[in-house]
């Protein structure tokens, strides 16, 4: 985590340049896919800060995604908020929800933590269904076009949508990089590696983990809000268990505890699912197979393996 600063920043800047430039050579279809992937990658980056760096294996991140999604889309629907304030509301809601869940769930650890976060997320999912008149329940609702504007640009059109997704992604990536290279990042990793030793160095594990979870929630909330605002739809399915598992898959595939891993994992998993669902309706079978192969041959994920073998400096 020390040294190699210039090389590390240069690598991440280069990745951002390539992603930004991709809009000029990708077809509109794939450019829109990339916008979706960038939003999902923000979600996964948040998950990675909790799971990959701090060692908090949550099965309830769908709740944080949905908190951001509804905190952005309900005010947009009811009161005509535009994208800027709605996004801020979504980010804040993700953080607040993570804080509330963390205060209770962080009294547990390990498997209990997984179960408690899963239960919270299921409770949130059922709550969204229960308040169907406001949330749209399973069907969800489409956001009014008037709300999907930022600085006068319509997020329903390709270029502003790509740029908005890129802006969120780039901020998330750089913030994540700065965080894991900071002294707090070192403390997060210390929790993952040896909590008891960290305690005996004067750190309160509860507050460190709560802070990491809240930061993770800010990412998830931002991603949920952005999804609704960029793609015009909010629905209960985003609070379902599937959206708690997805970021974990992205992170495991790309490499838990690597800054670029969540994005790489999101790209590959997105296209793997697309490719597999072209072949068969049982596409989850192929996804499952890919994961089994991954766990057997590269349990640290792609970038985790690269870091271990060839590039120890990779953050």
């Amino acid at each position: 985590m020390t040294g190699g600063g210039a090389r590390i920043w240069a690598l991440h800047a280069a990745v951002l340049v390539v992603v930004f430039a991709a809009q000029y050579w990708l077809s509109p279809y794939h450019a829109t896919n990339l916008a979706r992937i960038m939003v999902l990658a923000v979600f996964a980056m948040g998950y990675n800060l909790a799971f990959g760096y701090t060692g908090l294996l949550s099965l309830g991140h769908a709740l944080l995604l949905a908190a951001g999604m509804y905190a952005a889309s309900i005010p947009a629907q009811l009161w005509g908020w535009t994208a800027g304030p709605a996004l801020i509301a979504g980010i804040a809601a993700g953080g607040l929800m993570a804080g509330a869940v963390g205060l209770l769930a962080l009294r547990t650890a390990g498997v209990s933590f997984m179960i408690v976060t899963l239960m919270f997320a299921q409770a949130g999912f059922l709550t969204i269904l229960y308040f169907a008149p406001v949330t749209g329940g399973d069907d969800g609702f489409a956001l009014p076009a008037a709300s999907r504007t930022i600085l006068g640009f319509s997020l329903a059109t390709d270029t502003p949508r790509f740029l908005a997704a890129f802006g969120l992604f780039a901020s998330g990536l750089l913030a994540s990089l700065a965080l894991v290279r900071s002294s707090f990042g070192r403390t997060m990793v210390a929790m993952r590696e040896n909590e008891e030793r960290s305690r005996m160095l004067g750190y309160n594990p509860f507050t460190v983990k709560l802070a990491a979870l809240v930061i993770s929630g800010l990412y998830a909330g931002g991603a949920g809000a952005a999804w609704a605002l960029l793609f015009g739809y909010a629905g209960a399915s985003f609070a379902s268990i599937q959206y708690s598992i997805l970021p974990m898959l992205y992170v495991l595939l790309g490499g838990a505890g690597t800054v670029l891993g969540p994005f790489l994992g999101a790209v590959l998993m997105f296209y793997l699912i697309e490719f597999a669902s072209d072949l068969t309706s049982a596409y989850l079978f192929i996804v499952g197979l890919a994961l089994v192969i991954l766990v057997l041959f590269a349990p640290k994920g792609i970038l985790g393996t690269i870091r271990e073998r060839w590039a120890r400096w990779l953050p």
Partner: protein
């Protein structure tokens, strides 16, 4: 000569922790004078590690009290005691195996404040003779070096009380000489409480010794007094 009675750095009264029928720590009244090197000895299972766990807050007592410089810390959680200046180094080396040597010590340094982490980390490493290894992953160090890393983490906390639980276990004879000099250089700014089985080292290094047996204090005194104590000889020194 007028004896100057200094108020103790640590004082326990009636400290007790039983595990079922096992009286691991049984009504211990103990005090540490500021600036001393105090050794805690006793047969295996005498309750030494449990006793220092109570001091450091890794365990809470069933009854009794602990005061740090007059302040009651009996119920204070471990991490808060570290911030008040009680550092504990583990008997079984407990480092961050997959982090670099630098990061291990930096974690101790930065828990006291964000300023000058690099300089202070390097200073702590140099003090135990691990300079030059800072980029290495901690788990790749030799066992002796891991013990020294553990010690550097304790030092980097700049504690008022440093508790060393069998610090020389696994060190080579040459490393033990360096260790002695290092501990001597810590006092009187830091008070040292040492659990140790190496009697030559204890007799040489300690200013006072407390003998624990079956969770109780058998004797406390200077090395000469302890050596001459009949009860200690029977229970422990085997003379």
């Amino acid at each position: 000569m007028a004896a100057v009675i200094e108020s103790p750095l640590i004082e326990t009264k009636g400290l007790t922790l039983h595990f079922g029928g096992l009286r691991a720590v049984d009504g211990v009244d103990f005090s540490l004078r500021p600036g001393e090197i105090h050794a805690l000895i006793g047969p295996n299972g005498a309750g030494k590690t449990t006793f220092v766990s109570l001091l450091s807050g890794r365990r809470l007592p069933q009854s009794g009290s602990i005061r740090l410089a007059g302040e009651d810390i009996t119920r204070l959680p471990a991490h808060a005691r570290v911030r008040k200046g009680i550092a504990y180094t583990f008997q079984i080396t407990s480092i961050f195996p997959r982090l670099s040597v630098f990061d291990n010590v930096a974690l101790a340094v930065q828990s006291r404040g964000a300023r000058g982490v690099t300089v202070k980390t390097r200073a702590a490493l140099a003090r135990v003779g691990l300079e030059g290894l800072e980029g290495q992953e901690a788990q790749t160090l030799s066992y002796g070096h891991q013990r020294l890393l553990e010690l550097a983490m304790g030092l980097a906390l700049a504690p008022r009380l440093l508790i060393l639980d069998e610090p020389t276990q696994g060190l080579a004879a040459s490393e033990i000489e360096g260790f002695k000099a290092l501990v001597r250089s810590l006092v009187p700014q830091t008070t040292v409480l040492l659990i140790e089985h190496n009697m030559d080292l204890v007799m040489d290094l300690a200013t006072r010794i407390t003998v624990l047996n079956f969770g109780r204090i058998l004797a406390t005194g200077s090395p000469a007094e302890i050596r001459a104590d009949k009860a200690v000889q029977e229970a422990y020194l085997g003379a």
